[in-house]
Subunit: 399 residues, 2 copies
Amino acid sequence: MTKMAIMGFGVVGSGVYDIVTKNADTITKKIGEKLEVKYILDIRDFSTHPGADLFVKDADVIARDESVTLVAEAMGGVTFAYEYTKKMLMAGKSVVTSNKELVSKKGTELFKLAEKMGVSYMFEASVGGGIPIIRPLVNCLAANKVESIYGIMNGTTNYILTKMFKENQSFKDALSDAQRLGYAEKDPTADVEGFDTMRKISILTALSAGCELDDDKIPHEGITKITAEDVLCAEKMNASVKLIGYSRIRDGKVTARVCPMIIPSDCPLYSVEDVFNAILVTGDMVGDVMMYGRGAGKEATASAIVGDLMDVVRHKGKFDKNFSWEEEKEGMFFEPSEEENVFFVRCDKTKDEAKAVFGDVKFVEGASCAFITEKMTEKAFDEKADTLGGVLSKIRVYM
Amino acid sequence: MTKMAIMGFGVVGSGVYDIVTKNADTITKKIGEKLEVKYILDIRDFSTHPGADLFVKDADVIARDESVTLVAEAMGGVTFAYEYTKKMLMAGKSVVTSNKELVSKKGTELFKLAEKMGVSYMFEASVGGGIPIIRPLVNCLAANKVESIYGIMNGTTNYILTKMFKENQSFKDALSDAQRLGYAEKDPTADVEGFDTMRKISILTALSAGCELDDDKIPHEGITKITAEDVLCAEKMNASVKLIGYSRIRDGKVTARVCPMIIPSDCPLYSVEDVFNAILVTGDMVGDVMMYGRGAGKEATASAIVGDLMDVVRHKGKFDKNFSWEEEKEGMFFEPSEEENVFFVRCDKTKDEAKAVFGDVKFVEGASCAFITEKMTEKAFDEKADTLGGVLSKIRVYM
């Protein structure tokens, strides 16, 4: 039998408890032993919960108990989650997490500590909720050099954009809708401004590149500036707009960015709607591979955590270097302003004025002055946009 | 260093050699040691190949060489591949394969042998080419009870169906096209009659159910009977037709089938086109998850084989029971005639005659007499169809 603890009994933590209880037979059959929750760490009062006896308020109770070898961290945030994760790893316990912020900010240090202690620190649930992505990337695509990753990794913004497209809602109305349905937080900043997506692409990029990518190195913009006119132009081009976290690895150099992106209908990301997520990975051997599903939610995220827990039991908590990365290496990252993209532009100038500055562009039919540029660096684009006297919309195009 | 052999130097086998050679640095970095091809088994003449020295014609040379611990089988077929795989396992070598026919027909026996010898027998490449599916199913979704699997797992038929939809080609013309482009074999039976898909769904079902599913227990039909009228009706319903291999697991009983299926546009399988494959898995916790990519091709399939090889090296060839299944259990399988489905029907009767037999059906607007039935057993459907005096088309509907 393996005894475990759950840290944080919110949506995800209680989901972990539910699955370990409900699917106990399946789990025992697959890992060859029982998985038992011995403690749940949460400072709130759960005295009426059926598992009330399991609750503790002091992390040291868990850390000191040598019979507990495995901990699921579902606390969220960095402050306490960081402190307690370190405490558990230092006590020789493997930790499994869904905490994207902690993994993206402190992963490097926590992997080192786990390796030193000879235990695991696993994070499948931190990106894409229940969608298999970390393990496919590390194991199934192991023979590949990953060339790029493009992900729709935030259900809230994808729901909002879907509403803007399907029902011609404004951003504001779609956001209200999402808030009413519980898909968006009261303060939606982390989602709509792209912070959540930034943490996830930071994790996938670090994993693929083998070294940390400081969040400051990832330029990010959200979807708040997308207008009804942009939506109309995208539709005219048979395309949709998605909030994309992407990274590209070329000649050993890495670039990553979070931004809204025009997705043409022949890209498999085009038809990913509502709260669904999808991550499109291009490997030098396998070509395009996409993983799709619900990127959030209690049971989906908990399913990924329990999958990791089971894997840790099967491998007796052994640290696997492939599920980690090292410190940032100098010269590893591409200067964002030198990165090349194709841009969609809306402006209040004439087509002739636009052509005079941007050259041979493709105009969107039926729109006053909207066009797609040729591939150019971010820097070159910004200079041209300045020359033109500014643009109304600038959205990168998936290519 | 790990020394390996490749059995069969056709499309996939030579792909394995190419990747192991080309991405040697990536591989070494990830598994912590060099992976070296010591032998290639093929009876044909490769004396002008750069690796000509590696070729042998006698499998015993490989079996006897104790320095070789790992073998990639890319021979295809059952006769020799079966014999040689057994030989290698009995010699204490782990084997990795892309051979869907061998895994579906002889998997149970080969897993037993591998377990007895304490080595691995891995088969990620046998379903969906380079698409991660076996490992996500076994590891990432481990905490789930798998409820159903629906897969587009044959690129040839999906290419043909896409042509029939997008360019209104007949089945015959689309097949000729596919043959001209090398997407279909000269004798296309295995693809268009559903045998290839049957082997793949047999593997996924056995893996999910934990026990073998005799191919004879999987009713299968291909796409040769799909007509232009069916395509037209599907379009009117905003749906497509795909060749689907599916299995459903309910109350511990399993049912599996291969057949063309009407896929409505809100199902993520709807937009999987051309030679692309996708597998939609529903778990009781995670909900719907889909894996998408190229289901065949030299490099994609070889990429999955090399991924498995690397995993075997990392786990020192240790047998993992989760990547296997046991003999068929009595009472495990649902009688196909008792299985429930919703059906699309085209017939040469009047709407009133159809209603008199099938009750409250939904007619396809603008078609003479085509409709969707309520959910009913296969047996009930066949009886009603008989009463009606036969139908022109009977296609199951994804639900």
